[in-house]
Amino acid sequence: MSMPIPPLATQAGETQTIDAPTPDGGPSQQRPPGLRLVKTNAGLLISPLIIVGGALALYLNYQWSDKIFQDIRALDWNRNLRPQLEQHLSITLWSTLFTILISVPLGIFLTRPAYKRLGGPILAVATSGQAIPAFGLLVLSFAWLGRGPWTTIWALTLFTILPVLRNTMVGLEQVNQSVIEAGRGMGLTKFQVLRQIELPLAVPVILAGVRTALVINVGMAALAFLIGGGGLGATINAGIGLSRDLVLITGAGLTALVALTVDWIAALIEKALRPRGL
């Protein structure tokens, strides 16, 4: 594989403030800690405000609107919204989990020197797989696996393998060769180098891929209702079917809030797992 793989864009509000060492080899400039904290955590602090504000807006909108019987029924928390929310989250989490379980080991395997040459073709297949519209993939899975949430989960898993796989490979390949050489030269085994050096150093890039997958999944889970998978898409659909704006807006708004929350939690995890010293 001669072409370097570009990593997928990382999400906004990220903590990408790696201090590059100054060219003359002098110690890198230390910014005052206060400023640094504000700068890197701005995104993490703003998101919850937006989420809380949005939730409040949705709730007040619901309270103040003129409601008819269908609205109340469709937006009943215990009968509809809560189960849909649970389905939505479970579809998102399971599909992301499966994606990680498949992509990360595959990415590790494809960056080992002996199998490196397989990396190009497999990545090419995965990339063209990405070209299939997610909706098409959902319908194809439905034709193959039948109705139900698991069909959605598998379809989404398949769909999000690429970002995680690609970022795993990029993350491992961008590890400075001299660091690996030094590790091997001191007598670390290949496995020790992978576990103690390569993977920790690849974590930020891999997690960026996982976060991308999460965001795709939480959005795509809104289509799960089409094949009987449930999720908040059902409420949106009900709103369209009933021509009730309140139902539509509440469903869509909730979906957006869930997406924002999931992304925020992913950002927190990303920050927590980023090795110190990077």
Partner: protein, 422 residues
């Protein structure tokens, strides 16, 4: 069996006769990459003496780094045997072998996600040392390499300057106190001033540690400075000359070596001789500043020199005077002529002396003792004599080696025929 440092590496090369015990021996070690006919390193015989710095030096692409990496089997040799402290390690588990050999590379390769302490603890941890011992060792190594443990232990590599990072690199390589250290252009990426300081510190450290070190560089000056012995490598790591820096400078065996060490090698050789080891000019005209003027004039006339040295009451050189100065009787002797500026102590190198000599008005370097008192004069002729002597000594050494080698060969040939006949 030690024999001659062969000139073209065609019949192998081993350590000169005065070398200490061999720590690592390479026997016909070579590397040919799959798919190529030309070996990257053709069969190399090399004895690495214990407790010394052996520098592998050669032009880019000569395979010196590859040779270094063959020793700890970062590159697996395709032929030959590696003997480590009497033990054949050609087929042992390379990971275990490497834990016994320190390894420093130009890019250093500190683990960026680990603190300095964790970096240095890498090999001790692999060897299963307990925490207390590791922690004590880390502090000791930081001290030894000139980094304050209380400051640097918990820092991360990105917070270090290039020079500090390389110190940590050396400390990490010394982690579990290996007998052998392999260093691949360790100071190559560091600015000249810091490099010089690190080199000096490293030499001082080596003076205490007495490790067996194989040091790769492409810089002949660094090789001369760092090496107890130097192996000059040509294409495919063939040894062109293997000897002490003094002898290589005094007597390059062939054109390749003399081209590589470049012009000025003779001058570089002056770094290895000290003023105290050579015979000074003692019959140079010298007067006390209080000497009677007619007596001073008489001494000056009696000598062939164009200058005379005026000393003060403590025998310290004061002024250079010549005939014109002496003719002026209006001033005392110690106010005539230019001041003596060029003085060298006995432990200065001849290189320093030459520099002083060239700057002096009289074309002489004045040698003084530790109290500043006059000892003698060093002039260009003396330096030229020293160079001639160094050269002829080195030549004699090589002639002797060639003679022994010839005798050995004859003896070997005799045994061979004998063997065939039997």
């Amino acid at each position: 069996m030690t024999s001659s440092p062969s000139s073209n590496g065609d019949n192998g090369s081993t350590v000169p006769a005065d070398a200490p015990k061999t720590m690592i021996r390479l026997e016909g070690v070579g590397k040919t990459y799959p798919g190529t006919d030309v070996p990257a390193v053709s069969e190399l015989d090399l004895d690495i003496p214990e407790g010394e710095i052996l520098v592998l030096v050669g032009p880019s692409g000569c395979g010196k780094s590859t040779t270094l990496r063959l020793i700890n089997r970062m590159i697996e040799p395709t032929s030959g045997r590696i003997i480590f402290d009497g033990e054949d390690v050609t087929t042992v588990d390379p990971d275990h072998l490497r834990r016994r050999i320190g390894y420093v590379i130009q890019q250093i390769g500190l683990f960026p996600h680990q603190t300095i302490a964790q970096n240095i603890a890498t090999v001790p941890k692999l060897l299963g040392w307990d925490k207390k011992r590791i922690s004590a060792r880390v502090d000791e190594l930081l001290e030894v390499t000139g980094l304050d443990p209380s400051i640097y232990r918990s820092r991360y590599p990105k917070e270090l300057s290039g020079g500090q990072a390389q110190r940590v690199g050396v400390a990490r390589a010394l982690g579990a106190d290996p007998e052998v250290l392999l260093m691949d252009e360790p100071f190559g990426a560091i600015d000249p001033i810091t490099r010089d300081r690190l080199q000096n510190e490293f030499l001082r450290l080596q003076g205490e540690l007495k490790k067996t070190i194989v040091f790769v560089t492409h810089d002949i000056d660094e090789a001369i400075k760092m090496g107890d012995r130097i192996a000059i490598l040509g294409d495919q790591s063939r040894i062109a000359q293997f000897d002490t820096p003094e002898r290589i400078l005094a007597y390059p065996v062939d054109d390749f070596v003399s081209d590589f060490i470049g012009s000025g090698s003779t001058l570089k050789g002056l770094n290895f001789e000290r003023v105290r080891d050579i015979e000074l000019v003692h019959d140079f005209p010298v007067v006390d500043s209080t000497t009677d003027r007619t007596e001073a004039q008489r001494r000056f006339d009696a000598s062939d020199e164009k200058w005379m040295l005026v000393l003060d009451a403590q025998q310290r050189p004061q002024r250079w005077v010549n005939g014109t100065h002496l003719a002026d009787t209006s001033k005392p002797l110690d106010q005539l002529g230019p001041r003596v500026s060029a003085t060298v102590p006995p432990n200065a190198t001849l290189h320093d002396a030459l520099e002083e000599l060239l700057m002096s008005n009289a074309g002489q370097a004045v040698v003084i003792d530790n109290h500043g008192a006059y000892l003698g004069i060093l002039d260009v002729e003396r330096l030229a004599d020293v160079l001639k002597r160094m050269r002829s000594e080195a030549k004699k050494h090589y002639d002797q080696l060639a003679a022994t080698q010839e005798a050995d060969d004859r003896a070997a040939a005799h045994t061979d025929t004998h063997g065939v006949n039997a």
